[in-house]
């Protein structure tokens, strides 16, 4: 049973080829990592799945429906949520209201504001932002805003969550806390994750499977230990064998 399937997906901008012939499938409940150097096409892949952009070629299937070319809001409504590499909070709104909007419009469309607010508070509790509920989102620290980004995506009630470098810029302790939170969030729900990360430790600890991109193409796919030992991956990205 496949949740998400990419079939020979390509994306070009004018003359630049960002992705070429990308194919992989994800089963429900998996945590899959997406790895590669900057410019390898990872965020582009996210944009195509989440509907922010449309592929130049290929097909994307989600839960048996073709979704390539569907706009971002449609993908969100179907159950695909994402975070942005550079956080995009609704700065002028309160932290709570950031999630309320997501709950009102997302996959699990709550129609009553009070229900949406309850859901929002619940999630904010989960990610550790319950003390900041009524603050304007712009006043949070970067770590706080990253949690908010994840919380907001969760508030849509997604089936598939795309996390784009949520650990970037965090201190070592913050990384550990974040990983715990992500694992807990995943464990508590019927949720599938795709994670883009550069922090190798996170990828290997979190993911059951990793897909490696290089210059827009998939060069390897497998379990963390397989990937770490893969010569192509080492040459392209790791530089040396990691222990």
């Amino acid at each position: 049973m496949t949740l998400l399937r990419l079939d020979n997906v390509g994306k070009s901008y004018g003359g630049v080829v960002a992705l070429r012939g990308l194919s992989f499938a994800i089963a429900p409940g998996e945590i899959v990592g997406l790895m590669g150097a900057n410019g390898a096409g990872k965020t582009t892949a996210f944009s195509l799945i989440a509907g922010t952009q449309r592929p130049s070629s290929g097909e994307i299937w989600f839960e048996g429906t073709r979704i390539d070319g569907k706009p971002a809001y449609a993908a969100a409504r179907m159950g695909i949520a994402r975070t942005f590499q550079i956080v995009r909070p609704f700065g002028g709104l309160r932290v709570l209201d950031n999630l309320v909007v997501a709950a009102l419009y997302g996959h699990e469309r709550k129609h009553a504001r009070s229900v949406a607010q309850d859901r929002a508070r619940q999630i904010l509790d989960e990610v550790g932002l319950s003390r900041d509920v009524l603050r304007p989102a712009a006043t949070l620290t970067l770590a706080g805003q990253k949690r908010l980004e994840i919380a907001r995506a969760l508030a849509t009630g997604p089936r598939l969550l795309l996390l784009d470098e949520v650990l970037a810029g965090l201190t070592a302790t913050e990384v550990v806390e974040a990983l715990e939170m992500i694992r807990a969030v995943h464990g508590r729900r019927n949720l599938t994750l795709i994670v883009i990360e550069h922090v190798m430790r996170a990828l290997t600890q979190l993911c059951g499977r990793i897909v490696v991109l290089h210059h827009g193409e998939k060069i390897a796919e497998g379990s963390p230990s397989e990937i770490l030992g893969d010569q192509r991956v080492i040459d392209a990205y790791l530089g040396a064998k990691l222990r």
Binding site: Y73, F90, L104, A153
Partner: protein
């Protein structure tokens, strides 16, 4: 609990009742001022519903006012007034739908200058078509009394405030505020920005259309340069900036301030009035961007960290 509800409702109801009796208390001049105040309230509250909440500033809202006026004039004595006025509002709404469909695809600031251009464009089309019809202005004879117009406008202004309140606290309002903050992020959480913008834009045109129709009955003379005057758009925006465009009380405050200023200055020197408005607009954008209401709210709640 119920007693408190009744008490809370009593105050506005009494206030409205008092307003409704103004025609008995004021002379025609005073009533005219009150009518103007209601007009600006209705226009600014409707504008705020779209531009204030979504952040897409329309600098051409006069086009809906003018369209409403034009339709009322065209339907004059063709259709009874109680039908013509709502139809004018509807016509303005349809115009908004037609204009919004292409125009709302344009991003933020370009939408703003586009609205300026569209308003002028429609103005010149109406001028040309009137000229082609051989009409040099249209005169209406036998329009309703000032008191009737006043009561109608009172109802319209109240409706405009209720509508803004309802929209702002609704799911639609939440979506619009998200769009205002970050449209791309809003789309990512499931907000169909294009649809929300179009619906709200259309809604925000209905009341200006009705207001345009009522006011043309007041002035009894239709002339495209006046009906589609960009000054109307400018005044609406200035009111919203002065008073604050986020909540119902904002445009209300702004309108009151504006009418005060205009009464002190308009009769003597219309150009000076416009210059002062311009200075106020710039001053408020730079120094009091949240408007009088926002500033008052900030001053009254120092406890928030």
């Amino acid at each position: 609990m119920r007693r408190r509800h009744i008490a809370l409702l009593a105050a506005p109801v009494v206030a409205v009742g008092l307003c409704a009796m103004l025609p008995l208390m004021l002379d025609p001049y005073g009533l005219g001022i009150a009518l103007n105040l209601l007009t600006w309230i209705a226009l600014a509250e409707s504008w705020a519903m779209f531009s204030g909440l979504s952040g897409y500033i329309s600098l051409g809202h006069a086009v809906f006012y003018g369209a409403g006026a034009y339709v009322t004039v065209l339907l004059w004595q063709v259709v009874p007034l109680w039908l013509a006025i709502p139809l004018s509002g509807l016509a303005a709404g349809l115009l908004a739908l037609a204009l919004g469909w292409p125009c709302l695809r344009v991003r933020g600031p370009y939408f703003v200058i586009l609205t300026l251009g569209v308003s002028e464009f429609v103005k010149y089309i109406v001028i040309s078509s009137e000229a082609a019809l051989g009409r040099n202005g249209r005169l209406l004879i036998g329009t309703p009394s000032l008191a009737v117009l006043f009561e109608s406008m009172l109802a319209v202004a109240i409706i405009s405030m209720i509508v803004l309140y309802v929209v702002r606290s609704s799911r639609l309002g939440a979506g619009l505020l998200a769009i205002r903050e970050d449209e791309v992020a809003a789309e990512a959480v499931g907000v169909n920005a294009a649809a929300l913008k179009l619906v709200t834009f259309t809604l925000s045109a209905l009341i200006p259309g009705v207001v345009g129709g009522l006011m043309i009955l007041r002035s009894t003379y239709f002339e495209p340069l006046q009906a589609f005057n960009p000054t109307t758009s400018f005044t609406i925006v200035t009111i919203a900036i002065l008073g604050g465009s986020d909540e119902v009380a904002g445009p209300f405050l702004g309108a009151v301030l504006l009418v005060l200023i205009s009464e002190l200055l308009w009769v003597r020197a219309p150009e000076v009035y416009m210059i002062i408005l311009g200075v106020l607009l710039i001053g408020f954008v730079l120094f009091v961007p949240e408007g009088l209401l926002g500033r008052a709210q900030r001053l009254l709640t120092p406890a928030k960290s």
